[in-house]
């Protein structure tokens, strides 16, 4: 199981800014190891976010997203106490979901 994500959601007015830090290697598939063999790509493909269980965002990522990816987005209508959930799925089929409360 991958390491947990760090999610911070902060309400300002009628919206909340969500910052997510995911722990993932994000191997690009371009690098070579010491023996000159290409290290196969291993990256997050799909990211979805929910607000109180309702899906609000979905994204597709390529291998060019940085290691331990950072993502920031703004959820409309979210207020303190609401739940923001984030899920990712990588190209090996591994997934991880975490949840945070808007403050």
């Amino acid at each position: 199981m991958a390491d947990p994500m760090r999610i911070r959601a902060q309400a300002a007015g009628d919206k909340a800014t969500v910052r997510v830090l995911m722990a993932h290697e994000m191997e690009s598939g371009q690098r070579k190891d010491a023996a000159g063999k290409i290290i196969p790509a291993w990256h997050i493909q799909e990211v979805t976010a929910t607000h109180n269980g309702k899906p609000v965002l979905s994204a597709e990522w390529g291998p060019a997203v940085s290691k331990n990816p950072f993502l920031q987005f703004v959820v409309k209508g979210a207020k303190a106490g609401d739940k923001i959930g984030v899920t990712w799925k990588d190209n090996k089929g591994e997934t991880r979901s975490d949840e945070a409360t808007v403050s």
Binding site: Q30, K32, P55, A59, G62, A64, V65, S66, P69, G77
Partner: protein, 152 residues
């Protein structure tokens, strides 16, 4: 050549297995658009996503550094004030595959996203808004990279 029923069934199974391993069967049901992420150029990427008519627009915003010291971590922010946007794309022209990320917008989130990307070399970075009618509007900025992020 006479085949017993058992042999015939076995061979059928082997052939089916071979076909499956070549990826001819659409076993991936999820929406990941492989073509778009494997496309080399921006034009090919947009074609794979069904968008056309790329034109510059002042309503699409891209925030990127002028000089990125470390190409492995280039902070990029895309946003748009337009309505009727289907997805927002981040592209780096000279990367091995241009498309970095594609965000499907909805009514519940603002069309503004920040992300960190890897860049192999100095290149133009594009923020592209694909509208519901398939039109593509972009903003671009040149980012100079002093240290590449794609190995080597």
């Amino acid at each position: 050549m006479h085949l017993s029923r058992r042999q015939a069934l076995k061979q059928t199974a082997v052939v089916a297995g071979l076909l499956a391993s070549t990826g001819l069967f659409p076993q991936y049901a999820f929406a990941f658009n492989k073509d778009a992420f494997e496309a080399k150029s921006i034009a090919d990427t947009l074609k794979a996503l069904g968008a056309s008519g790329l034109s510059a627009s002042p309503d699409v915003m891209l925030t990127a550094p002028d000089i990125a010291e470390n190409g492995a971590v280039v902070p990029l922010a895309v946003s748009t004030t337009l309505t009727g946007v289907k997805r927002l794309l981040v592209l780096v022209e000279k990367n091995p595959s241009a498309l970095i990320a594609s965000f499907n917008t909805s009514d519940s989130v603002e069309s503004a996203f920040s992300i960190r990307a890897k860049m192999g070399q100095s290149s133009d970075v594009y923020a592209v808004a694909v509208m519901n009618d398939g039109k593509a509007l972009f903003a671009k900025k040149e980012v100079k990279v002093t240290l590449g992020g794609c190995g080597g």
